[in-house]
Every structure is written in C-alpha cells, then in structure tokens.
Symmetry: C2
Subunit: 434 residues, 2 copies
C-alpha cells in the first residue's frame, strides 16, 4: 500500500493531509512537506473508519496522548470504555490502549469504533497474553501475527521496542532501577532466557512489511527509558537511542512512518539536552515523550511533576506528550485521574507552543485576557482549558451573579486591582487632564 | 538595632544564623557570608517569639511561601487560622497574611503566635482599611504608622511597593491588563489622584528607619508585574525593576535586609531572561516570584500552570516561590486548595534544587528510588511529598496488603517491569552463567 509518507514524497495531498491541515489551520502543502521529510507523521490506518487525522511534528500544535487499558488485576472493559470517553472529552489528541489480560481484541474493536483520534497499542502485550506462562516465553511468530491482526483491525500506531538489544542488557543491569518499561522488560527477559537477539530487531523487515501494508505508524519504544532521576541520560538509554536512529532510517527507506519514544524520569536541567540528542540521533523524527517527571518524590502528584517536564520537553523538541496521571507509581488511574492527567498535559503542550512561538498559539491567551479585563466570566469559562471546573469553582462563591460581577472574591470589589487600574485609565482620559 | 545584615557584616554568627544553618545542613559561616553579601536574607523580627529562622538565597534550599488572609467579601478569622495550619502542615516555608477588612491586627496577632515560620504582610492594605473611603484617599502618615505597628507586632518581612513611580503609570496604561497588583494599583491611584510621587518612594528613608529598628526584611513589591502573557517583560515592568535596583542599594546602605518580588504571568521561554535580569538589576538580591503562570487559559488549574513556571524560575534565579492555588483568578482558596498549592510549589522548588545541583538535593529522590525498587510501600509513603495522599490512593486498590505487595496495580504482578528486571538481574548472577 502507498502510505501517507509515500504519497507525501510524491507530492500528493491526500484527504488525510488536507483534513490535518484544516485542523492545524495551515496550508496542506506544509503538512505534506513535513511528512515527506520525516519530521512529521500522520498516523491514519485506512481501516480506522471514523478517524479525524492529526499530524504530529514540530511544525504543528503539540499533541497529548492518554494511555488507558486494564491490567490483569484491575478494571474492566466497560470501565476502560468510560475512560476513553473521559479522555476524549478532556481533549486528548491521541489514545493508547495498554490493556493486558483476556479479551483485549474485543475491547480494542469497541474502542476503535468509538475513537475519532489516532489510536495506538503495544502488540507485545497481547503476544504475551496469548502465549500464556511466563512473559519471557512468548513466541516471536505470535508477536508478528498479533502485529498483523491489530493492523488489520485499524490500529493507527504501534509501540515496538525494536531498539533494545541484548548488548544493552548489561548496561541496564548496572542501573538503580533497571528496566522500567513493560515492553522493554519483556523483551530483555526473552533475550536473556533464549540468549538471542531481540526478535523485533532481527525480524524488523517483516514488521515493516506489515506496517507498510496498513500504513501503521511505527512508534519506536524506549525499552531502556530511565525509571528514576539517578538513571537518567545514562549509557543504557543512549545506547538504545543510537539503535533507534538506525531503525528510523530503515522505516523511512521502506516508506513507513516513524516516531520515537522517550523518557521518563529526567532532571529539569537535562531535558533540553535529551530532546536535542534525540532529534540528532533520529534525524528529526517526531519525539514522543512520557512526561518526563522531574522528581521522584511526588507520588500522587505526578501529573504535576511531569507536566513541568513535559513543558520543557515540548519547548525544546518533543511533538507528542504522553500524559502521566496522579495515579502514576501507585496504580491504574480512575476516570477523574484520566481527566486530571489530560488537562495537566494540555496545559504543558499549550505553554510550550506559546514558548516556542508557534503561530497563533498565543491568541488563545490573549482572548482570555480580553475576557478577564472585561469581567466577562461566561466568556472566560468558554475559553478555559476546563470551563466546567472553572465555572463550578467560581459559582461556589459568586452564586449566579456571574454575568454581572465586575470583580472576584479574591480581592473583593474595593480592592480589585483591575477595577482600580481601569478607573485610573478612565480618569487620565478625561478632558482637561494634562 | 543591629540587623542580621549588620551582624553578618561584622562577622558575627547570630543565633538565627546558627539555627538557619542547622536547617540547611551547612556551616553557619556560609549563611553569614551570603547574608553579608546581600545575596541572602534571614527575615527574623526579634518580636516574633516562636520563630524558626529560615534563610532565603541561591546558596540554599528554594523556599515556598503561602498567601492566606480574608477579603472584604469572603472568609473569616477562624477560617484563615485554619488555612495557616493547613499551609504549615503541607510544608510552607513562609506565610503571608494578605487580609483586607476589619480586625486585621487581631488576626495577625493570633497568626504570629501560631506561626513558627517567617511571616509577612502588605501594610498598604491596613492603611487603606483604616482610612476608609476610596482606596486612593489613604493617608501616607497612616501608612508609615501601620508599618511601625506591624513591625512592633513581630512581622518578619513586608511587601512595600516603593518602586512604582508616577512616571511609570503611562507605561502601565498602555498594557492590555494594566496594573494587576493590589498594592501597585492602590499606589498608582493615589499618585494619579494627588499628582504626586509614590509616598513610599519619597519617604523611603523613614520607612527604612522603621525596618532597621525591628530588623524587618523589605520585600520590594512589583506593583507593575504583568497580569497576562501579552504584558510580560514590557517597558512598565522593567522600568519599575530598575527603580527596585536603586532601592536595594539604599536598603543595604542602611543595613536593612532586602529581597525583590517578581512576576506573575510570563511565557515559559522568557523566564530565564527575567530571572537573570533581576539578578543583575538588583545586585543579586534574592528574587521572590509569584508563580509565574506560563499560560492564561487554565483557570482552575493555575497551581499547575504556575508550578511549571516556578520550576524554571527557581532553576534560573529565584530563591523564594509564592504559591498559586487552583482558585487563582476565580476566588479565595479553600483549605484544600491551600494544601494543593503548597504541594505543587514544593514539587517545583525541589525539582529546581535538583536541576541546579544544590548539594544533597537529589538524595531525597534516590531514597525514594531505593524504596521503589524494594517495593517498600510504607517507606515510599514516609518519603513522599504528601505521604497521606499517596498512602490513601494506594490503599484504595491494594487494601491493607501494602506491606507485602511486590508490584502495583498499574501493571499487575506478571507484567511488573521492575519485577521482571530484577529476575533478569538474579538470573545473570547465577553461577555457570557466562
């Protein structure tokens, strides 16, 4: 099949490219050129019928991904379907289903039918569940089959941990926290048990054939992402990154779209270096980061510690931000925590778009300022990232006077700086005033 | 009176210096030298009896201030006393009471008696309340008297908006959001009404005499801080900053400790420049910032949008962070929102301390990592920024098995990456293994 990358290289403006350009409020030619260069991807599996295509890359709005899915111990299909709608309502641009356990194929079918945004998976999970037994006994043939089946189902992008090699395992074993990526740990366990190279790496051409046939975008997993500040930017992480750079080249050669996943846990001062290093090692492929959290000490608040890191990441090089919820390091998120995570990351993404001077990004802030100085509360709630919450919070104090109130309870009418400031301005405009 | 600055310059290690050094786990000579140079302040009014002195400056742990206090329309003395204890329990290093209305002196007495951390005020508020009538009709003599009375009461530091001059008002009137500082707006209104210079500026020597007599630390207010991204880093803000630099020099000449307040609303990419500019304009005086928020569009979540800005601020130059709560731009915070604000800012302060390589800062993260890899949940909760919340969140799923659980519900036992990783490590250590 001709992928979006193939078409873009041929100079063709596909329907998906045109739709993505409308969403970005830019000319389709820009979207096409960015995809052709590999600096952007447009994950759009033709079998995902109700998809509104969205483009990921530095030339465009920073996107937010929400991970959902049950584990073997918690949650259920109906609950995860509920989380899907909560994440979408909160404004998630991308969704990944990370379910492990029984009937993941059925859940995925329902999710795909109800997901108008690009939808991703981690096929190794299903491969392990199908094989049964210990995680390291999965069968590589089953993994390839799972990739093909999920591609046929309509999955738009897949995390594939093809860059973690058996040579990297000794480096990871020197770390404090070892391997903290589920997919990375499974593949490392398989390599360690069988004393063989990563089957995704050795059979990469077969994998790419499937991705090419369904225009599945490869999301190169970072199996060796650091799991604590102490392990950040270490030899294991960067050894894998170099391999990812080579895999990016192979994807592009085959006309397969590719992005690259990144950390994780990174001190605030090392984020910029990490972003720049990825861009160089992977020839500008879009960087898709998980957080990163900037401290390990805030379980229960990791949506905040990671929104801090995500803002820096998106300012300096990332294009897609995977949210972290307040439940991170403690358990699976509830519906409310999914909502909180998406909002925190939309704040990070937008703050970064403003910081890097993305065209028109600041118009939103300026519109809010206009509503604020006019004490137009309803307009503020319409513009707010989460208008429902802002409105409810304001009404708790102001009651139903929101339409007429020309100050807020923070300072009260008499002490409202904006009111005083506006009176000064009026006084200075009076005739007769020097 | 001999202030901490006078004593430090004379090479004396005061009791307050020794106590602050113990809290910082450093030699008292370092605290003394930093205070003597003006790069640090130690707000410790001798009349504040139960104070545990804390030092503010780049050589030390970044501190977090919590603003509390009622407005003319909301809250009450008992409720604000409750917020004081919530803020302290959450770990606030500094407290400011911003109450406006009746009986603020009585509330302040109770707060001071119950506040073991440095306590600050904004005297102009009481001066306006005492005068009655429009805010711009306050009497400068009353303002001076209020400063003296609050100093006698034991207030450790005071926000004084002495740097906003009548020449700056036209610059501020060109802005989208004008003046958004309460104190700044009141002084501008007074100057505009009376066509006279800022009385705090013209009578600065009298003010310093009072501060000197009680060792009150001056916190130079930024009356022209930007109130929206569009106004950030503008001519009005930097004109006032230059004046603040001159006032810093006068404070130091008189032996009065001084720090400088800063924005506000700043795009993420302009934060570093703002921090460096203040350090230069104000000869290294400690910078005390409010947030800054990095986007205007997230009312209800401004503790997050400002924790992002605060992390960058403390990484690049700020020493004291004034929290912003989820209620910002909507109303006065509830007790829960005070708690959320303090925690968000403690995350920002610590992340920045790690980022700037403050000695021993990362030990905390490394201890958490150790507890994580050992699945020692109780230890994780003991170490967590907010252990109560983390514990409650974990127990919701894990029940009472927290002591023995060797995985979390996020991945489940079988798919726990850390467990798999540890098994790989064990397998590789077995005898016979190459």
């Amino acid at each position: 099949m001709s992928t979006q990358l193939d078409e873009a290289r041929l100079g063709r403006l596909t329907t998906a490219i045109r739709m993505a350009a409308i969403a970005e409020k830019c000319r389709p030619g820009i979207v096409r050129a960015e995809i052709a260069s590999g600096r952007a991807v447009l994950p759009a599996n033709p079998a995902h019928k109700n998809l509104r295509p969205a483009v990921v890359g530095r030339a465009f709005r920073t996107k937010v991904n929400a991970n959902i899915g049950f584990s073997t111990e918690q949650s259920s299909c109906p609950r995860e379907i509920k989380k899907l709608s909560v994440a979408l309502a909160a404004g998630a641009d991308f969704i990944m289903d990370l379910s492990v356990g029984k009937n993941t194929a059925g859940l995925r079918r329902t999710m795909l039918a109800n997901c108008p945004v690009p939808f991703g998976t981690v096929p190794i999970y299903e491969a392990v569940c199908r094989t049964g037994g210990a995680v390291e006994s999965f069968d590589p043939d089953v993994l390839l089959r799972v990739i093909a089946e999920q591609a046929e189902q309509g999955v738009d992008f897949m995390t594939l941990h093809a860059g973690i090699l058996k040579e990297h395992i000794p480096l990871a074993m020197k770390r404090r926290a070892g391997i903290v990526s589920r997919g990375g740990a499974i593949l490392a366990a398989w390599m360690n048990r069988h004393r063989k190279q990563n089957p995704l790496f050795t059979r990469w051409e077969e994998v790419l054939e499937i991705c090419k046939a369904h225009d599945v975008t490869v999301s190169l997993g970072d199996g060796l992402r650091p799991g604590c500040l102490a392990d950040a930017s270490d030899a294991a992480q960067f050894a894998e990154l170099e391999t990812l750079g080579k895999l990016v080249r192979q994807c592009r050669k085959r006309g397969v779209q590719v992005m690259v996943e990144g950390p994780g846990h990174v001190p605030f001062n090392e984020i910029r270096m990490n972003m720049e290093r990825e861009q160089k090692a992977c020839q500008g492929a879009p960087f898709y980061v998980l957080g990163p959290v900037v401290t390990d000490v805030a379980p229960g608040y990791d949506h905040i510690s990671s929104a801090i890191g995500a803002t820096a990441a998106a300012t300096y090089g990332a294009s897609l931000l995977c949210y972290v919820t307040p439940a991170e390091h403690l358990g699976l998120p509830s519906e409310d925590e999914v909502h909180e995570g998406v909002i925190a990351f939309r704040i990070a993404a937008h703050a970064a778009d403003v910081a890097r001077g993305l065209k028109n990004a600041r118009n939103w802030d300026d519109a809010m300022t206009e509503a604020r100085i006019n004490f137009d509360w309803e307009r503020q709630f319409q513009l707010a990232m989460d208008g429902g919450k802002a409105r409810a919070r304001f009404r708790k104090i102001a009651g139903k006077k929101t339409k007429s109130l020309d100050h807020c309870s923070m300072c009260g009418a008499e002490f409202c700086a904006m009111r005083i400031s506006q009176k000064i301005s009026l006084a200075r405009k009076k005739p007769g005033r020097q």
